[in-house]
Subunit: 188 residues, 2 copies
């Protein structure tokens, strides 16, 4: 149950509602975890029953009432125990790359077009990550001034940026390979 621990982790940084937590996944964690609200709300219920978190009802005018959750001591202990174990390598699923595996079944030009589409998609994600970095970590990653506060959030964002850059480079390389084959088949 990694999602449970992800929620404990987010709550270790401060109290939040289910709605807040859902947004955090979307905003800055999408390249390594994801969960929708329909998964989060029932799980928060369970975790509260297990004593890992507690909540406070906050009545609002002009906005719906909300439940603000925070960690308990057993919750923090569960988080730390989970953190200390390095998990087995994760199995990624990448439907776009899966398709590449079978591009033999397409004309070269279609394969090139699809690789270009993939490159654009990675470029868009990269642009988004760079904006996030400029907004939340304007001093750069290796500044001595920055405390440990958001250091690790920056580490994970950096990983996302490197991944997208690497993806784009690979797309470019693959497209180059295919274009050369197009030229060769024309030449012969």
């Amino acid at each position: 149950m990694s999602l449970k621990h992800a929620l404990l982790g987010l709550l270790s940084e401060g109290e939040a509602t289910g709605y807040d937590l859902t947004k955090m996944f979307e905003l800055s964690m999408s390249h390594y975890w994801h969960a929708g609200h329909s998964q989060i709300y029932p799980l928060l219920d369970d975790m509260e029953k297990q004593g890992l978190i507690v909540f406070e009802h906050v009545v609002q005018k002009d906005k719906p009432n909300k439940k603000v959750y925070r960690l308990t001591l057993p919750g923090r202990a569960a988080l730390i125990a989970w953190l200390k174990v390095e998990p087995p390598p994760s199995r990624h699923k990448d439907e776009s790359l899966l398709k590449v595996r079978f591009f033999e079944n397409l004309p070269l030009q279609d394969a090139i077009a699809l690789l270009r589409a993939r490159r654009c998609s990675h470029q868009a994600t990269l642009d988004n990550f760079r904006k996030l970095e400029a907004t939340y970590f304007p001093e750069g990653p290796d500044t001595k001034r920055s405390g440990l506060g958001n250091l690790y959030a920056h580490f994970t964002l950096r990983r996302g940026i490197l991944y997208e850059q690497d993806s784009i480079r690979w797309c470019r390389w693959a497209i180059t390979q295919l274009r050369r084959r197009v030229r060769e088949s024309r030449g012969v």
Copy 2:
């Protein structure tokens, strides 16, 4: 249903049993798709009923009998239709990176140890990929001699190699950042 199309794709390269298909996922596709035999066998049944594939019973002595599947024309058409659409960016789940996000809850030395474990894990996967490359694509990716036969399989393997290299570089960078912080905290 990407798994269905992945099976169609593998069968487009030649006939195979459910057992063969299971091994193909493990051997060379693990960085972009995965499925166990308990998922594959029932799905092959369905696909056969849908007319996408057909099988032939092969009776063997010394080994269990087997069902050898191959594509039908509708199966190939379904594969090609699926290939032509670029899917939305995939949501990866990476429990190890998720943990990094919450390393504030650990002492620096534990964080460094976990990043080292992650680096080793990526190194092991990289070594494995490189062996695969040396075995199946000894001429290198940009050889003019190689036909289109296994070109795309090589593309996806290259992507895996680049990903692992990039992961290792990121781990090293992150470890360097943390070690500097260790030194600084000692110096002060």
